[in-house]
């Protein structure tokens, strides 16, 4: 399996990780090796096999539809890199 630098850049962009040209050149063979090794899974006959959804059979629970938490705005904001007037702030997104 070979992965080219264009593919690496595309995945990195999907993953929102900035990479340099050098990074892409280094990562291409690395990812190619790993993905090539993973491809052996294709040998396994999985006809009629259901994909795993839960390792231990466990009924999903429902809880009462009531508010049971909240009122902790300042606590939630205290680790924010930049917070103003009780809001998380981000760079302007609309021109």
């Amino acid at each position: 399996m070979s992965v080219d630098t264009a593919t690496v850049k595309k995945i990195a962009s999907l993953a929102r990780i900035a990479i340099t040209e050098e990074d892409a050149t280094r990562l291409a063979p690395e990812l190619g090796n790993i993905l090539g090794w993973i491809e052996q899974l294709g040998e396994v006959d999985t006809q009629g096999v259901e994909p795993m959804t839960a390792v231990i059979p466990n009924q999903l629970r429902l809880r009462e539809d009531v508010v049971n938490d909240g009122g902790i705005r300042d606590l939630l904001m205290q680790n924010a890199p930049q917070a103003e007037h009780g809001f998380f702030t981000v760079p302007k997104v609309i021109e």
Binding site: R16, R61, V90
Partner: protein
């Protein structure tokens, strides 16, 4: 007076209860050990006051004649993947540098409720991704173990020769008049719970929490000559544990012996409404039911775990383990787990896929690092923040995960991997029709040197070949030390059990422990 740091969890609990020593003395002794072990880099944050406060509470409870809590007076180390209220929690990543959780993880809260105190937060592979503790953003953890190049009399001619050939070695004088020559080369403590394995094996803590996604409790336990158990998926709440791969992540204890692991796991486990996959079951009294008598039990030996290039010493230890379990009364049966070889590639699709989704939350907005280049927009801020905050291995896994989940590849990779996972679980189910537990080696080698496998991610991944299958099937599994290799480094044996049968796993492990008589400890050089 005995050095209190030589005691395990049960001995500390009993000693405090019986008034042989004060919990405060225990906490002070371990705090001092931790403070003097910076060379090992096991602790990211030290919290001596937390340990002392819990100790004082235990001493006060005893003075007042109250019934002591199950872990009263026991100080432990906390892997830095568990959120601890008011104490910095980073998952060993720059992207969470400075993050101080305003909440407590369920597992750590359970331990504090049981009376335990915290010595500090333990280093790990970044976001628990790694098998050698070399991916931490805050430096490698160094194993307290060193390769032994010579053991014998100092007057032996060969000692002089070995000392000359190994200038980077230290001579240690043993109590019996012999000397040992140890190579100074730093060894990996295993990963991802490398801070935990180093802390326990170096005697800095009687026990520590670990988390295991593909072997992160068991492999480091094997590398450092301690015990560690990953319970059935769903036994320990994942709430407040920084997520890596949610369908695999399980917390568990790492300690000096099987009994200590049982005691600690009882405190950590339990139903938690805040984790949708938490199992609504009572926590058994595992310690009380410990028994090394395996009469009537069947132990399965899976033939597919005999891999090419496995050192003869590991094969020999495996055979020894079979003999020990037979001696304990068990019947040995050969079983087949035909899809074993596909477990690791399936894992390296599923775990990175889940990681790429889980780690999307680190965006520089609500917590952690923000990198905002001059004039950058929102998307650029995300990309710059994640480039600056994540280490190389974390990026590699996010990229693999993003790739296998991307349009056009999802079915070929992710769906196929989840189908193979079903087949792997089915293999175990069939094997457990013939036996009660499985016996395998924990890892395909003893501890390797730091730096040795770093250049080749695939070689590093192969370290988890024996631990990953049980993770994919959500089964309880434990590593227990079996012996030392020719270099004087620990080797572990793994017991895998049926779903929810932690007791069977602990009991078979106890049978091995009693027969292995493993008492080796690393010589302090730090």
């Amino acid at each position: 007076m005995t050095d209190l740091t030589t005691l395990g969890i049960a001995a500390i609990r009993d000693g405090v209860r019986d008034g042989q020593f004060k919990a405060r003395e225990v906490a002070e002794a371990f705090n001092a050990k931790v403070a003097a072990a910076d060379q090992l880099n096991a602790f990211l944050v030290k919290t001596p006051d937390h340990a002392l406060a819990a100790a004082d509470a235990a001493d006060a409870a005893r003075a007042a004649g109250e019934t002591l809590k199950p872990l009263a007076g026991v100080p432990i180390g906390m892997k830095d993947l568990f959120a601890t209220k008011g104490v910095a929690t980073t998952a060993a990543s720059k992207i969470l540098e400075g993050f101080v959780p305003p909440y407590e993880s369920t597992v750590s809260q359970n331990l504090w409720n049981a009376g335990a105190g915290m010595l500090g937060k333990l280093n790990l592979d970044q976001f628990a991704m790694g098998s050698s503790n070399e991916t931490s953003a805050f430096g490698n953890v160094v194993s307290p173990w060193r390769t032994k190049v010579f053991h014998g009399r100092k007057s032996d001619a060969i000692y002089v020769k070995m000392a000359a050939e190994n200038p980077e070695s230290d001579t240690v004088y043993n109590d019996d008049g012999t000397v040992s020559l140890f190579d100074r080369k730093a060894l990996a403590p295993g990963g991802s719970s490398g801070g935990s394995s180093t802390a326990v094996s170096a005697g800095l803590a009687p026990g520590a929490t670990g988390t295991d996604t593909g072997g992160s409790i068991r492999q480091p336990a094997a590398f450092t000559g301690i015990s560690g158990i990953k319970p059935t998926y769903g036994r320990c709440s994942r709430w407040g544990t920084i997520a890596f791969a949610s369908s695999l992540d399980q917390a568990g204890p790492m300690a000096r012996d099987v009994r200590d692991c049982a005691i600690m796991l009882e405190a950590m486990a339990g139903f938690d409404a805040k984790d949708a996959t938490s199992l609504k079951l009572d926590v058994p009294n595992w310690e009380a039911a410990l028994s090394a008598d395996l009469k009537g039990k069947k132990v399965g030996v899976p033939k597919e775990y005999r891999v090419d290039g496995m050192p003869v010493e590991i094969e020999a230890l495996w055979q020894q383990g079979i003999a020990w379990l037979r001696d304990a009364g068990a019947e040995i049966v050969e079983v087949s787990l035909p899809h074993t070889k596909y477990a690791l590639p399936a894992y390296y699709i599923i775990a990175p896929a889940e990681a790429s989704s889980n780690l999307a939350r680190y965006d520089g907005v609500r917590y952690g690092l923000r990198d905002l280049p001059e004039g950058a927009g929102l998307q650029d801020m995300y990309a710059a923040t994640r480039a600056a905050g994540f280490g190389n291995e974390v990026k590699r896994r996010i990229l693999i995960g993003t790739y296998v989940l991307s349009a056009g590849f999802y079915d070929a990779y992710y769906t196929q991997a989840q189908k193979v996972r079903t087949l792997i679980a089915r293999d175990f189910e069939r094997a457990f029709g013939q036996c009660d537990v499985l016996l395998t080696p924990t890892a395909p080698s003893a501890a390797f040197a730091l730096g040795e496998k770093q250049a080749d991610p695939l070689a590093m991944y192969l370290n988890d070949v024996f631990t990953v299958p049980a993770s994919l099937a959500g089964l309880p599994a434990m590593s227990v030390p079996g012996g030392l290799d020719k270099d004087g480094l620990p080797l572990g044996l793994q017991i895998i059990g049926k779903p929810l049968d932690e007791q069977g796993v602990l009991n078979a492990s106890l049978a091995i422990e009693q027969r292995a008589g493993f008492t080796a400890r690393p010589q302090a050089w730090w």
